[in-house]
Amino acid sequence: MKVQKSLMLVLCIMVIGGAMIWAGGGGESQISTGGITLSLARFFGDSNVSDDTTDVSQAVTEADVIQILTNKFNAENDKGITVVRLGGAEWGSYYDALNTSFAGGTPPDIAVMHGSNLPDYTARGLIQPIDPYLSQFNIDPSDWTDPARGAVMDGDSYFGVPFDLHANLFHVNVDLFRQAGLVDDAGTVILPRSREEFFAQAEQMKEATGAWYFATDASQFPIGVRLMFTLVWQQGSDLVSRDGSRATINTPEAREAVDFMVSMFNQEFANPDFNYTAAEETFLSGNAAILMNGTWAVDQYNRQAQFEYQALDFPTLYNQPAVWANSHLWVMPVQQKNEQYEAAMEFLAFLHEHTGSWAAGTGHLAPRTSVLTGAELQQVAQRSNYADTANIAVLVPAIQNWQAVEDILKEEIESTWLTGKSINNALRDADRRINEVLR
C-alpha cells in the first residue's frame, strides 16, 4: 500500500515535471524590448554588487570591478544596448565552455581572453578584427604600451582591445629584509642584481631570520615554472623561435635557468613542495621574505599583511630586464548570423576607456601609457612601486597551441625538482615534445 502511494506521488511529479519541460523552462531572457542585447562571456567570477551599482570605488575584487563596469555601461549608454553575461564556468573550465560554443557555431558577442590564447582563434579566422572601428570609437593604438599592443596583434591587424597586463612581481616582506640587513638607510629594499647576489642574500636571510628567502607555487599552477621563462628571457634567449616553428629549449640559457631553480631548492632557500595556497600562507604568516606571485594579489596582500609589505618589480638578475606577463583582452567572435559588431564595439570602447578603473581596482597593469602615467593610478597604494613592470613585461610567444607548450614545459621542468630528473634530460624531452605540438 505504501509502495502504491509512492508510485502515485511519483506519477504526479512526472506529469508536473513533463508539463514544465514542455513549457520550455527557458526562463525569462533579459532581452530588452526594442534594444540590442549582447552576450558576454567572461571569467573573473561573480560579484555581490547589485545590478544597479555603478560606482567603481565600491569594488573589492576583480569580479566587482567588471560587474560594476558592465552595470555602468548598461545604465549609461545611449544606444539601448544591454550586456548580459553567459556561462557558469569557474576559471578552469572557461575555455572549455567557450570552445564548445565556437564548435557549436554560437559564440558570444563579446568574450574575454588571455593574450596567450588569442593566436589559436585568430589563426582560424574566428575573431573579428577591430581595425575598421578604431577611429570611429576613438581607440588609439599608439597609446598602448608595446607589450599590450603585441598581445592583440596578429600580422598587421588588431583583434581585440587590451584590458591589462598581469605580470609576476616580488611581493616583499620588508620587515624580514630589514632584519636581515637588506634595507638601506633610505628605507629602500635592496634586491639582488645577479645570481650570486640572490644566493648571497638568501644565505643572509636564512642566518638572520630562519625564514624562507623565496616562496612560490612550484607544484600546482604554472607559476614557479614562469620563473624559468623569466630567467631565460633575462639572458636574452627564448623558449621557441619567434616564428614559432621550433623549440629552443635545449640551450645553455635554459640550463642555467633551471639550474638556478634547482639550486635554490637544494640549498633550502625555497620549498619545491609548496602549492599556491601554501606559498601564500607562508608569506602572509611572515615566514617567507619574498613571494613570487602575480599582480592580481597586490591589493589582497596590502590589506592582509601584518608586516610592512611592498610589491616590487622583478629584479634583473642577468643581462636584461624581463619578467613573465600575460594579458587580458576583449574580443568580438565572428558571428555566422545576427552580427552586432557596432554595438559590441560600443562596449569594447567603453572598457578601453576604463582600464584605469580596472587597474586601480585589481592591481593589474593598465595597457595604455596615458593611463599608467595618469593621476588616477598614482593615488593607489603600491602601484608606483612596480610601475616599471609595464615596460619590462615580456609576453609568451604568440604561437598556436601555447597552452600545450606551457604544460609540457611545466611538467618537464618540475620533474627536475619533484622527481629528480636530470636537467639535461628534462630539457631534451621538453624540446622534443614541444616540436611535436608546434604548428
Partner: protein, 288 residues
C-alpha cells in the same frame, strides 16, 4: 518453464528506454567513431579524412598515450580491490536496520561533488596545510608530500577516491545482502559454523550477482577516472599520474584535435568492453 519467446511484450518493456538510449548514447558514439577517422579540428569546420592514421599514430608513435595507458591500468589494479573490499566490509557491518546514522556517515562523502572532494583532499594531503600532515607531526613523523612525490601521488589519489566513492559500493552490497535468506545463517549457527565459515559458504555465494555488478562498475569507473587526477595533480608530478581520459581531454580540448581524441576514446571503450565481457564470461561459467 515456458521457453518460447514473448517478443511483443518484451519489446514494449524495452521500448521507451531503447529509444532514448539510441538517440543520446548510441548516436554520439557512432558520431565519435566517424570523427576518429578524420583530423577533426575542434574550433573550425576543418575536417580532413585520414583513415586509420589516428589509430596508427596512437599505437606506434605516441609515448604519452602509452604512459597514460599504463598509469590508468596501474590505478585500476590498485584501486579496484581496495574500494570493492572496503565497500563489502562496510556493508557487512551496516546492513541491519539499526545502522541509519552510521550508514549516512559513511555515505556522506559520496554526495559531494568532485570539485569539493578534490579541494578537501588537496588540502588534507598537503604537507604544510593538511590535517594528515598535522596528524603525522603529532606522532613525531615528518609529514609526507603526497601529491608532489612521484611514488606517493597515485596513492594519494586512490585514497581520495576511496573516501569519495566507497559509499556507492557499500550501498550496492547492502542491497545485495538483503536477498540472502536469514534462515540460512540460523541453520548454519545451529550446525556450529563460525563466522568465517558462514561468510564463505553463505554470504559470498549469495552475493555473487552483486559482486559481479560492483566489480564491473568499479573497473569501468576506475578506467574513466579523470576529475580527481586533473584537479589534484594535473597528471603530475612529471606525468606520473596522467591518466588516459586526461590525455583524451587535453588532446581534444587543449590541442583541438577532436579526431585523435575520439580515436583514443574508442580504444578505451573497446578496452573496457573487453574487460567486462571477460569478467561476465568468467562469472557465468560458475552459473546455472
Amino acid at each position: 518453464m515456458v521457453k518460447q519467446f514473448e517478443n511483443p511484450v518484451a519489446y514494449t518493456f524495452l521500448g521507451p528506454f531503447f529509444v532514448i538510449y539510441l538517440l543520446f548514447t548510441v548516436y554520439p558514439v557512432f558520431q565519435g567513431l566517424y570523427m576518429s577517422f578524420f583530423e577533426w579540428d575542434l574550433l573550425s569546420p576543418q575536417h580532413t579524412f585520414v583513415g586509420l592514421r589516428n589509430y596508427m599514430a596512437m599505437f606506434f608513435n605516441d609515448q604519452s598515450f602509452w604512459r597514460s595507458m599504463i598509469n590508468t591500468l596501474q590505478f585500476v589494479l590498485i584501486s579496484s580491490p581496495i574500494i570493492i573490499g572496503t565497500g563489502l566490509l562496510l556493508a557487512l557491518g551496516l546492513s541491519r536496520s539499526k545502522g541509519a546514522i552510521l550508514r549516512t556517515m559513511f555515505f556522506s562523502s559520496y554526495v559531494l561533488s568532485v570539485a569539493v572532494v578534490t579541494l578537501i583532499w588537496g588540502f588534507m594531503l598537503n604537507p604544510q596545510q593538511g590535517l594528515l600532515g598535522a596528524a603525522m607531526q603529532l606522532f613525531g613523523l615528518e609529514p609526507l608530500a603526497w601529491l608532489t612525490n612521484p611514488r606517493l601521488a597515485m596513492y594519494g589519489i586512490v585514497l581520495a577516491t576511496l573516501w569519495w566513492t566507497v559509499g556507492f559500493n557499500m550501498v550496492l552490497f547492502i542491497a545485495g545482502l538483503q536477498d540472502i535468506d536469514g534462515y540460512l545463517y540460523e541453520a548454519a549457527t545451529l550446525d556450529g559454523a563460525g563466522p568465517w565459515r558462514k561468510f564463505v559458504s553463505i554470504t559470498l555465494p549469495g552475493l555473487k550477482n552483486t559482486i559481479n555488478l560492483v566489480t564491473i562498475l568499479q573497473v569501468i569507473a576506475s578506467f574513466q577516472i579523470f576529475g580527481q587526477v586533473y584537479i589534484m595533480t594535473r597528471g603530475g608530478p612529471g606525468g606520473t599520474t596522467r591518466v588516459l581520459i586526461q590525455y583524451i581531454y587535453e588532446t581534444g580540448f587543449r590541442d583541438f584535435r577532436l579526431g585523435y581524441s575520439s580515436a583514443m576514446s574508442i580504444l578505451l571503450f573497446i578496452l573496457m568492453f573487453g574487460a567486462s565481457l571477460l569478467q561476465l564470461k568468467i562469472s557465468q561459467r560458475g552459473d546455472k
